[in-house]
Symmetry: C2
Subunit: 460 residues, 2 copies
């Protein structure tokens, strides 16, 4: 099909919303390592997880074999409110760069929560509702996940308790108000609504909170309230499964025009977006049907893939969660306070960690001032104000397109534009004022993080 | 075609973006009254306007006869970045209301500027660029228009000077930063960059500014800088012309499914959205081809249509602009400070004023606490956080749908969802905290506004 026929935006029709999610694990030769019980060193069983997560999600979490999982009709109906999301040909950016590369991006910020997180939020809320539960609990830092979950729960009439890191609660009042508008109960963490919160407050009344503490409170609230379960927006296998809708739609849209990407780029924090975007492409690669360059982009200030260790570690700072084998900087590693670009998680999805270890994908780390430069250029040419997280992928895509300009290669690049930056304008202001600084952890900083890696009890 | 076949979102394809704007004035039997020179009382001529506005826009402003105006290809290319915008069937809202009514909304918030303003911003910036100008100046209050203009200017490489009411500049730093990210020069008004600004500051150093003052500064900056012109985001005939793209797309999408709306509802401040949404429908009504109920919704705190006078008045508080014949509360009328819902302009588009005076459309005024109730209900069911302005139309649409529930009438309602509320969360917070109050001006308040209506010199 002639190149000029490709529109700016490729929309699928509503009946082309995927009817099944794709479970990448089914095609992996080396399966991701299982979650371990930190006390016993044994793989966690369904019954151990079902007090925290609802049953269907535990099943999805542990299922490494089923390749396609039906998306319930109720979830597809919700998806229709904002999906299919557009696949955009970045004609304006290509022109501004003067590159022969062909750039496409899958835009997931096209809904009020402003990010791809909604794809999994509605799924997790649906299964909770379906199990007859009253509500769900979660934590949120920057607020993308909390907002998405609030929207999903409002739609289903499910209670939603969000523990929001106190410093974010105070400094991001707009995020908080969106969640409240959707009916969520938003509590600054640490709070006196939980035993762990009261303990932390007693020890340190002036603490501004941490994600680790918020997780602890959310898990306690789920397990100590009848009819509640805990939900999480990234890292987990189930989340990658739900997010495969991104890649499935992107591939269907490209297939429509006979376009095969040479390279697929995604930002990587816990891996929810990257894992979803690459899923069907990686599947073809695993099955030997097609080859793709796949690139994870992470912040230089939190470089799990590029400088981390592949080891069992806690998923949370508070060390109350299971152990996961992943590329990690150590659960006590915290990026410098000057880091404004998101993607601050110390570890990485076990699925992506295994794929990376197997050499099936690459990773690169970028500094935040160059990330915001890319964000600005993108906003001015493509019209969309990107989330700082998404701008990591933009940076790498622009760099690749500029390489093509030198070599003359007409590479086809697909990247994930995960969200919008409406709630990140404090960071943009810093950049606009020329006050954004970069931070790269020293080897000593990393060594301190690695020193916190747990000893894993020997299995069986 | 069967009802169930209508998808949640009707998207047109890119080649269905209108190729011409529709000029409602061409089909009006009673043309809108001309703008007058306040000094002479004579209709303004093109040469008097061309020092302020660029030439092509002056032509559009004064042309009451040409029904269809070609949209230049460059503008259509920009439109492709965010248009066609979706026409959404509000299945979820209908279900929540339990109404037999069929509700559709045309969603214009699907771009980074967050509103329909972009449709005219790119047109005005394009004609300025095409005339070889260096840049444009404007004022902004809440910031929707300034953001839209900044985006358009960034795309075209045109300078953009925005005078932002000082209190908004300080209280809406996020809006300011979006504009700066798009490269606009944002100046808090009053400023010492203009003679009028310096004069006002000398008289009152602590003033927090007003829209009237910002308009004065923007007009001065346009006329005193070589290669600049002034642009405006509402009220003007040219703006309604550009905004007709909203109605044309909405009608094309409905026609595709054989749907004819019984009632069309839009919020009304200066009239840019309402005039654009109703254009093709009102055209059919004017030509006797079809009939539609058309309803303007305004805030009870600024009720130009429902309690204003149809008279010649200044368009700006500073009284430096031409006189326009319109429904007005008097150019010195300012809604109470507790009014958070936007739509604060004292007057109304001359086109819509004439149509209203001719009985071709109706108007209603709604109180802001009920507007935010509607906004919340809409967000929770349809997933989109609406701008307070748009929520006026939602309120009226819900009220109409609830009437249908009583009568059993299966009315088809179309309303304009002009934008998103991401930058209005201070107002949402007030509502969430139960602190939102209503204000209805007393007859004395209105009398004080009417007392400021100018005497118009008799026309030649």
């Amino acid at each position: 099909m002639s190149e000029t026929k490709i529109p700016y935006k490729i929309y699928l029709s509503e009946n082309e919303i995927p009817k099944q999610w794709y479970n990448l694990r089914a095609d992996m030769k080396n399966k991701p390592a299982p979650l371990l019980n930190p006390a016993t060193g044994q793989p966690l069983k369904a019954e151990e997880l079902s007090g925290i997560f609802c049953e269907e999600l535990v099943k999805q979490e542990l299922d490494n074999d089923t390749a396609y999982v039906d998306i319930p009709q109720e979830i597809r109906d919700f998806y229709k409110m904002y999906r299919p999301s557009p696949l955009v040909r970045a004609y304006c950016l290509e022109k501004a760069l003067g590159t022969p590369a062909k750039i496409y991006y899958k835009f997931e910020g096209n809904n009020t929560s402003g990010s791809h997180k909604l794809n999994s939020a509605i799924a997790q809320a649906y299964y909770a509702k379906n199990q007859g539960l009253k509500g769900v609990t979660t934590e949120t830092g920057a607020g993308q996940w909390g907002t998405a979950l609030s929207m999903a729960c409002a739609y289903l009439g499910l209670d939603c308790k969000v523990y929001m890191v106190k410093v974010s609660y105070e400094q991001k009042p707009f995020r908080r108000e969106v969640m409240r508008t959707y009916g969520a109960e938003v509590t600054p963490s640490p709070s006196n609504t939980t035993a762990i919160g009261r303990k932390i407050l007693a020890e340190n009344p002036d603490t501004t909170g941490s994600l680790g503490c918020a997780i602890s409170e959310a898990v306690e609230a789920a397990t100590s309230n009848e009819g509640y379960r805990y939900v999480l927006g990234s890292v987990l296998n189930q989340v990658l499964l739900h997010q495969s809708v991104i890649g499935l739609e992107a591939k269907a849209a490209l297939d429509k025009y006979g376009v095969k990407p040479d390279m697929i780029i995604g930002c990587a924090g816990g891996g929810s977006n990257l894992g979803g975007l690459i899923a069907p492409f990686m599947g073809e690669k695993l099955r030997g049907e097609n080859d793709y360059e796949i690139l994870a982009v992470e912040p230089a200030s939190c470089p799990s893939f590029t400088r981390g260790k592949y080891a069992y570690d806690f998923c949370d700072t508070g060390n109350i969660c299971p152990l996961a084998k992943m590329y990690t900087l150590g659960s006590k590693f915290i990026p410098s306070a000057n880091h404004a670009g998101g993607l601050r998680f110390h570890g990485m999805s076990t699925v992506l960690s295994q794929l990376y270890d197997d050499g099936l994908m690459k990773a690169t780390a970028v500094e935040q001032s160059s990330v915001f430069e890319a964000a600005e250029q993108f906003a001015r040419t493509e019209g969309i104000l990107p989330a700082p997280e998404s701008a990591h992928a933009i940076r790498a895509a622009i760099d690749e397109a500029l390489k093509c300009k030198e070599t003359g290669e007409e590479k086809t690049i697909l990247f994930g534009l995960t969200g919008t930056g409406y709630f990140d304008l404090v960071a943009y202001q810093k950049f606009n004022d020329g006050e954004m600084t970069d931070y790269i952890p020293t080897d000593e900083d990393l060594a301190a993080g690695f020193a916190t890696l747990p000893e894993v009890p020997s299995q069986g």
